[in-house]
């Protein structure tokens, strides 16, 4: 399976580098949303719960854009058929797409968090290290797993653009709650507080549970 996952990942990265359809759009969306929040809240500096909430809502909506595009090339250019004809484990596509989405989200967050710290964030983002990357990585894993499942389901329908947010947003709500709760102490005014282990555990549990569900059902989504 490793060979197939590597082949799919390599191909998807080549396509993203050529078309630049996903990551730049997600980054631009994130930056635009931070600007909107700045004016809508009429605040120049955010910290604590509010800073965490704005960050996670923005990242969640940006991830929907990535989920929407995840399988479009496979659908429109026959990638599904070509893959299904190959003598490889079908789970390889799930693993490759989830890793790809994880990578996209990480790249977007690298830029988005930097911009956020300049535009809106009160406390220095460096005070949130290394807790924030850990929370982001756990949340990204959950978004990648659920996003891949939802993306594969939605791309088979005509109302793809509608189905993705309708399915993904409720399913990803626990990630937003746990992510925001885990991030808020890291962005507290006057220095980061301890990382709340309970919320990290919830993020980890979410990743494991949805990872197993996705592993069990993904093959069926590829069938006619």
């Amino acid at each position: 399976m490793t060979r197939a996952v590597a082949a799919l990942l390599r191909k998807d990265l080549q396509l993203e580098l050529r078309t630049r359809e996903s990551v730049p759009a997600m980054v631009l969306f994130s930056v635009s949303t931070f600007v909107l929040f700045r004016f809508a809240l009429d605040r120049e500096r955010l910290e604590g719960d509010l800073a965490a909430g704005v960050l996670w809502v923005t990242l969640l909506f940006a991830s929907v854009l990535g989920i929407n595009r995840l399988f479009v090339t496979e659908r429109e250019q026959g990638g599904f058929d070509a893959f299904l004809l190959a003598p490889v484990d079908r789970t390889a596509m799930f693993v490759a797409k989830a890793l790809l989405l994880f990578g996209f989200l990480s790249a977007v967050e690298l830029v988005a968090v930097s911009v956020y710290s300049v535009l809106l964030l009160g406390p220095s983002p460096f005070q949130a290290f290394p807790g924030l990357p850990l929370v982001l990585a756990l949340a990204n894993a959950g978004v990648a797993v659920v996003g891949t499942l939802v993306g594969a389901l939605a791309v088979q329908t005509r109302a793809r653009d509608l189905i993705v947010p309708l399915l993904a947003l409720p399913l990803l709500l626990p990630i937003v709650i746990a992510g925001a709760e885990a991030t808020a102490p890291l962005l507290a005014e006057g220095g980061a507080e301890a990382l709340p282990g309970r919320w990290l555990a919830i993020l980890g549990l979410y990743d494991v549970v949805f990872g197993l569900i996705a592993y069990a059902v993904f093959d069926f989504l590829l069938e006619d």
């Binding site: 060979r3 197939a4 590597a6 082949a7 390599r10 191909k11 080549q14 396509l15 050529r18 078309t19 090339t73 250019q77 026959g78 990638g79 058929d81 070509a82 893959f83 299904l84 004809l85 190959a86 003598p87 490889v88 069938e223 006619d224």
Partner: protein
């Protein structure tokens, strides 16, 4: 085999057997069920009733046994338009565990050695079809499922790809064609479909195709 799309019967109780190494020409008007038949044999569609066996494997349950032994040249080229011919073929070679040297040999054979690094979207339909043929035969399949294989090809290109997808390939072939004369010339057996039903199933010499396109 029977296959429905909603209420419509796309394939209605078609029964046939094709010996290894021989060629079946599938003829019929648009919407007759030709592509549906091809997709079932390629393990991409499930028959809703009946059964199919390809290379001894019952489909779809044992589809995993024959994937990698089937080459499909579909109506769509199944190529990523932003990638070059070479990149597309490398991707498929990795999935099928085929050596890179095979890619170069195929590109040279179909006359695309010099243009193999151009994105597929910049190639003409004929050149794209040549790349699609390379993709379909990359893993030297024992069964070739070909939907209009010579579409958009000039005579020189037809001659170039003939050793890959023609009788000389040695594969068992199912060939959809709208070129009745060309289809009959290549076939050992002719299947004429009309409204999803097998109206004709006979050797070319005795096949009566008069009612097929009415």
């Amino acid at each position: 085999m029977t296959r429905r799309y909603g209420e419509r019967l796309a394939l209605d109780g078609v029964t046939l057997s094709l010996p290894a190494g021989s060629t079946l020409a599938v003829l019929g008007a648009n919407g007759a069920g030709k592509t549906t038949l091809l997709r079932i044999l390629a393990t991409l569609l499930r028959p809703h009733a009946g059964a199919a066996r390809v290379l001894g494997a019952a489909l779809p349950e044992e589809g995993w046994r024959v994937r990698g032994r089937i080459g499909l040249l579909a109506h769509d080229p199944l190529l990523y338009s932003e990638l070059s011919a070479r990149e597309n073929l490398r991707f498929h070679a990795r999935l099928h565990g085929v050596a890179a040297a095979r890619i170069e040999a195929l590109l040279e054979e179909v006359g695309l050695g010099a243009r193999g690094d151009e994105p597929v979207r910049t190639l003409s339909r004929g050149l794209t079809q040549r790349v699609a043929i390379c993709r379909a035969v990359l893993h030297a399949p024992e069964v070739l499922l070909l939907d209009e294989p010579y579409a958009n090809l000039d005579p020189a290109a037809v001659a170039a790809v003939a050793p890959l997808i023609g009788r000389a390939s040695g594969a068992t072939r199912v060939v959809i064609s709208h070129d009745v004369e060309g289809g009959l010339a290549e076939a050992d057996l002719v299947l004429g479909l009309r409204g999803g039903r097998a109206e004709v199933l006979a050797p070319p010499a005795s096949a009566d195709l008069s009612g097929l396109y009415r």
